[in-house]
Amino acid sequence: MALLEVSDLDVRFYTEEGAVQAVDALSYTLDRGERLGVVGESGAGKTVTALAVLGLLDDPGRIEGGSIRFDGEELLDASPDRLRRLRGGEIGMVFQDPETALDPVYTVGEQVAEAVRVHTDREGAAAHDRAVSLLDRVGIPDPATRATQYPHEFSGGMAQRVVVAIALAGDPDLLIADEPTTGLDVTIEAQLLDLLDDLADDDLAVQLVSHDLGVVAGFCDRVVVMYAGQAVERAPVDDLFYRPKHPYTAGLLSAIPRIGDDRDRLPTIPGTTPDLASPPPGCRFHPRCPYAEDACTKRDPPLADVDGEVRHTSDSDAGGHRAACLAYVDDADFDGELDFRVEITDGVNADGEGDP
């Protein structure tokens, strides 16, 4: 059984402009010790999904349907008390900006110790000792001294390690990291990813939310690509990067600059993410999709197996490669071809064809 099973999750924000469908029929699973990447543009619903799993959505956001099962337990029916024990206990969360995720008025050691006290029966000195050993675990040098310092005395990378230490205090099975490296420079980012990598080796499942495809490529086992609140492609990481199937994924990949690139301009995906209060009809990506046809404006494509078989149910076939594009739907009125392809320039030339 998967550790985390999200199926048909719907999240809406009720604003003055109307209901915004922030997450739309999203399904994914995450096994123990697995690393799942969730990528997409800003506003694709990545963070909202993470918050929904933890039951942290605030007004005006509301979960309108679907189910979130953690270790077989339905979280949407869980009591507030149970959710509180779950947060930080079984599911830890790491935030984007470590400088603001730490409370400026307490020492770092005190903040880690607080997390320890909330989730274990350690008190006083025992909690503090555990805090110091957690700081040591996340690679902070001289943890005993550093524990007595305040967050402003930490660099961004060190502060993010503290945030990870706090998330680990309850000895969680799942770590949700919401863009944990976005505010850090690349060397520190690499160190932090090494740390997460190391932690994930200890059977900790990691859901890494990111818009950095490079980070996802280097860290994750499987990837969910989100666009406008929907999962548009779900695949093992190799398949996603070498054989992208959804035009949006292909667009994202082509927009990455590469060393030795001789293009004058990076290709971009034209347009912007749609207003989710009034999403376009049919496929949400069609206004920006170079391959869009009439059929795309009429029918919202389901996540289909890229071999052509349609599956409406969110079954546990998590390892497969699926994309939400009419090109993979058999009975769709889609005649064209997705003629993008991936060229691998370092010797071995294995072109992945994008057409069905």
Partner: protein, 334 residues
């Protein structure tokens, strides 16, 4: 073929930069800097502000004079035997009425032949304790109510803040006068009236701060950690929202002492004849015509000095707690 922008320009090579310092040294050096909590840092900044320190010294002296003016007895046991005031502040007829200042009576005597110097010293007990107690109690009421209103929101917020709005519609002093007029005179009734009109300011101030602090990431982080709302409010929200309230409360001690004096002057404060500064001013107001200036000038000066000092301290506290405020940069620039 990939094109290297540096092709044909020669290679860069820097020599002599090899260092045998280990990477960890920088971190280790950072770790040895002594760490200070924010109250100690605020105190360090406060001490640099000479006017505020002078104000604090004046208040300390006035407080000490008030404490040591007359012996203090607690249920029959003398706990403080020193008597700086030469005469009993309540004793009348120790000298002829309306004697100008002299060596025996430095501040002269009033209509009943009471020693004004002794009364001014002793009066500090009332004024200072009213200021401190009324402000503390108002904080105890206003901070929890305002913090809960801001954090919980919804109908709780509406209820509390509409009550605050209603109370705000009355002028501060008029409401206090009305309360004293209804409930009668006396030390605790006076304090109660000042608290009843004083807490609304703190409630409104901290509610606004809490609204801002609640949006911070560390509050979300604490929730993601599974901390309870009460714990988050008490440990994370209020400590981060309290600084402006402390500044306001410090400055308000002066306002409250003035209000107590004003109520005393209007005859609504303590019992007539009490050696409270405002009541002394009130009792002596007829003497302004007769030329016996010392009866009113000395208690008035005491009020003035105390309120001025507390304002200096309040400004210093604000600069110490919020180093980005304008006055601080102005002082630095001087």
């Amino acid at each position: 073929m990939p094109r290297n922008p540096l092709d044909g320009r020669g290679r860069l090579r820097v020599r002599g930069f090899e260092s045998d310092d280990a990477d960890g040294d920088a971190e280790a050096a950072a770790a040895t800097t002594p760490t200070t909590d924010r109250w100690r840092r605020a105190w360090t900044r406060f001490r640099r502000d000479h006017a505020a320190v002078a104000g604090l010294a004046v208040i300390a002296v006035m407080a000490l004079l008030a404490v040591f003016a007359r012996p203090i007895e607690v249920s029959g046991v003398v706990v403080q035997p020193v008597a700086l005031a030469p005469y009993d502040p309540g004793a009348s007829g120790i000298a002829p009425a309306y004697r100008p200042p002299s060596l025996a009576h430095p501040f002269g005597t009033d209509w009943a032949g009471r020693d004004v110097f002794s009364r001014v010293l002793y009066g500090g007990r009332y004024s200072l304790s009213i200021g401190v107690i009324a402000v503390s109690l108002a904080l105890l009421v206003g901070v929890p109510l305002g913090a809960v209103a801001g954090y919980v929101g919804g109908w709780v917020d509406e209820t509390i803040m509409r009550l605050v709005d209603v109370l705000y519609a009355f002028p501060f002093l008029v409401l206090a006068i009305a309360l004293v007029a209804v409930f009668g005179q006396g030390f605790w009734k006076l304090v109660g009236a000042l608290v009843a009109v004083g807490w609304i300011g703190y409630a409104r101030l901290i509610r606004g701060e809490v609204l801002g602090v609640s949006e911070r990431d560390y509050v979300l982080a604490a929730r993601a950690l599974g901390a309870s709302d009460r714990r988050i409010l008490r440990r994370h929200v209020v400590p981060n929202a309290i600084a402006p309230v402390i500044v306001q409360a410090t400055l308000n001690v002066g306002t409250v002492v003035l209000s107590a004096a004003a109520l005393g002057f209007l005859g609504l404060g303590l019992q007539p004849g009490t050696a409270e500064w405002g009541s002394m001013l009130s009792a002596g107001r007829d003497t302004l015509v007769g030329g016996e200036w010392w009866v009113t000038v000395f208690p008035g000066l005491a009020v003035f000095l105390f309120v001025l000092s507390i304002n200096l301290v309040g400004d210093g506290v604000r600069d110490a707690l919020d180093p980005d405020a304008d006055t601080d940069t102005y002082r630095e620039a001087r």
